[in-house]
């Protein structure tokens, strides 16, 4: 009980900090926070599959990128509506995940990973080679961001602070959805699949259907994160779909703690803050960032947040529910 209360206190405090940040942080840090929140949503969607369901997807970036492209395409060829762009990306990434997932959830472990990698490469190739539609390797830019139309109030997404609020709101909605999900009976199915797929199917569960649902939810959230990413950078580019970009989600999740809801967010924060601090001092930042990440992963075997929660638990002597 006490852990619960302390935990919710932390969550309320960090949400309050994030909501108030634009009023006291410099634009530079607001931009970094925007990046962190976008990647948090992406990595959390990945973690629903990896940390909770035990499925390692290297195709997550493919769906992330597809969401970005779909939103930009809808702005270029459709109405200049923010909600229209989001709706197009949401429907598109849900559909793509449904098709990809239908094939992938039939296999376990490394075979699942390879299948998702294969589909990710196909999506990357489409974005890279279909020049007339996607602009090829140059990416797809040249769109104007629509106004942030909240019906009672109109903001401008060109203003980094307004854009930040949009990203914060979307990331929070995603996090709440995931929170409800992992603490529901469905969430228990996911963890049971991670622990022992065969045993769960022996008690009568339709393991494939459960996995497919998780895949579609994760893919849709990744697609939405892709919209935020493309809008933030004012371009949708093929790198977004590359499997190396999925690797970022893997890294952030393992760094922060897989199987912990906010682990990937903590991982994303550590990653971006380190990156920005180190690049200020040296051009060889990759070497230092790599070294620090290695130390962190070795020092926190269950991820930074995961290991900290374990520690708190050991002191309080009650298992996490």
């Amino acid at each position: 009980m006490r852990i619960r209360r302390a935990g919710s206190l932390w969550i309320v405090a960090s949400t309050a900090f994030l909501a108030a940040a634009p009023f006291f942080l410099s634009t530079y840090w607001i931009l970094i926070l925007t990046e962190i929140l976008t990647m948090s949503l992406f990595a959390m969607s990945f973690n629903l599959l990896f940390g909770y369901t035990g499925l390692l997807s290297f195709g997550q970036a493919g769906i992330f990128g597809a969401g970005g492209y779909l939103a930009v395409l809808s702005l270029l060829h459709g109405p200049s509506s923010l909600w229209g762009a989001f709706a197009a990306a949401l429907a598109g990434s849900a559909l793509i995940s449904l098709v990809i997932g239908w094939f992938c959830v039939r296999r376990d472990e490394i075979y699942f990973a390879i299948l998702t990698l294969g589909f990710g490469m196909m999506l990357f190739t489409v974005a890279h080679n279909w020049r007339s539609l996607t602009g090829g390797s140059d990416g797809l830019g040249g769109f104007t961001l629509p106004p942030l139309d909240l019906f009672v109030w109109r903001g401008s997404l060109a203003d980094p602070r307004h854009f930040y609020f949009l990203v914060l709101a979307v990331a929070l909605i995603g996090a709440i959805l995931l929170y409800r999900m992992v603490n529901s009976p469905f969430g228990l199915m996911l963890r049971s699949i991670r622990e022992n797929t065969q045993r769960l199917s022996f008690v009568g569960a339709d393991v494939r259907a459960v996995r497919l649902c998780a895949f579609v939810v994760a893919g849709t959230l990744a697609g939405i994160a892709g919209v935020l990413f493309a809008f933030f950078n004012r371009i949708a580019s093929p790198e977004m779909l590359h499997w190396a970009f999925s690797g970022k989600a893997v890294l952030m999740t393992i760094l922060g703690g897989s199987g912990v809801l906010l682990g990937p967010a903590v991982g994303a924060a550590i990653f971006f803050v380190l990156e920005h601090v180190i690049t200020a001092y040296t051009t060889n930042w990759m070497v230092f960032l790599g070294a620090i990440l290695i130390v962190l992963v070795l020092a926190f075997p269950r991820g930074v947040l995961g290991s900290l929660l374990d520690l708190v638990q050991r002191y309080r002597g009650r298992p996490r529910s």
Binding site: M189, E195, V203, A205
Partner: protein, 257 residues
């Protein structure tokens, strides 16, 4: 009217390549009768369970459950009909808590696999049902422990708890006491006895320990090299020369002494 015969197996065979793991086995399990399947290592007991529970297809033969042909029906459909099995090698959800190990099959049974917006811990009915099962097995006090941290004997009980959560009518228990120390074995046997006596569940158990088999089973089937060698009450089995031969007299006599 429910049939008195719960499980009926007709000339069941299963081969792996050229090897006949099971040949022409026919038997009947009456409802409510505690039956045991015994036989030396490699006799085909686990294979028999694998075929009956739908994990493997038989090469030949038929299986009927409550009069209905279930040959080749996959395990998850058999669960819905009430035919469950436990595993010789402990097969549970290691990093989940004791309670969650029982809640998972219960959620499936209650058709809640896809309920993603409801909170699991506020599902009173589900949690109560899980705790009732755990109490019956003497595990309620440990409901929040991760099962990977339990003693071996308790892990084997989780196996039983998962099976009970599926509201079975027939349970195939594959060596429920495998690897247990004498006290754990004793506790497991008492439990099976009690469950068999005070519930609608029929148990069909394989077991190595002859002492255990002869003390609990009402009917014993003896399997040897894939064939059914004998069947009968413990007394009949004890007196059966073919069985004594298969066991070289050893364990049966030792049990008597």
């Amino acid at each position: 009217m429910s049939t008195p015969i719960l499980l009926q197996v007709e000339s069941l065979s299963r081969s792996f390549g050229k090897f006949q793991a099971l040949s022409d086995v026919s038997l009947e399990i009456p409802r409510g009768r505690l039956c045991a399947l015994i036989g030396p290592n490699g006799a085909g007991k686990t294979t028999f369970y694998n075929v009956v529970s739908g994990r493997y297809r038989p090469t030949r033969g038929r299986v009927f459950f409550e009069g209905r042909d279930i040959t080749g029906v996959p395990p998850h459909k058999l669960v819905k009909l009430g035919l469950l099995r436990s595993f010789q090698i402990t097969n549970i959800f290691p990093a989940l808590t004791v309670l969650e190990n029982v809640l998972a099959p219960l959620a499936v049974m209650h058709g809640m696999s896809f309920a993603f917006w409801r909170s699991l811990s506020s599902q009173q009915k589900l949690v109560e049902e899980a705790l009732t099962i755990l109490e019956r097995l003497g595990l309620a006090g440990q409901s929040h422990r991760e099962v990977s941290t339990l003693a071996y004997g308790d892990k084997r009980l989780i196996e039983i708890a998962i099976v009970l959560a599926c509201r079975p009518r027939l349970v195939l228990l594959d060596e429920p006491t495998a690897g247990m120390n004498p006290e754990e074995t004793e506790r497991m046997i008492r439990l099976i006895h009690e469950l068999a006596a005070h519930s609608e569940i029929t148990f069909f158990v394989t077991e190595h320990d002859m002492k255990v088999v002869f003390s609990v089973a009402q009917t014993i089937f003896v399997l040897n090299q894939g064939r059914l060698l004998a069947q009968g009450t413990p007394e009949e089995i004890r007196a059966n020369p073919a069985v004594r031969q298969a066991y070289l007299g050893g364990s049966l006599d030792a049990e008597r002494a």
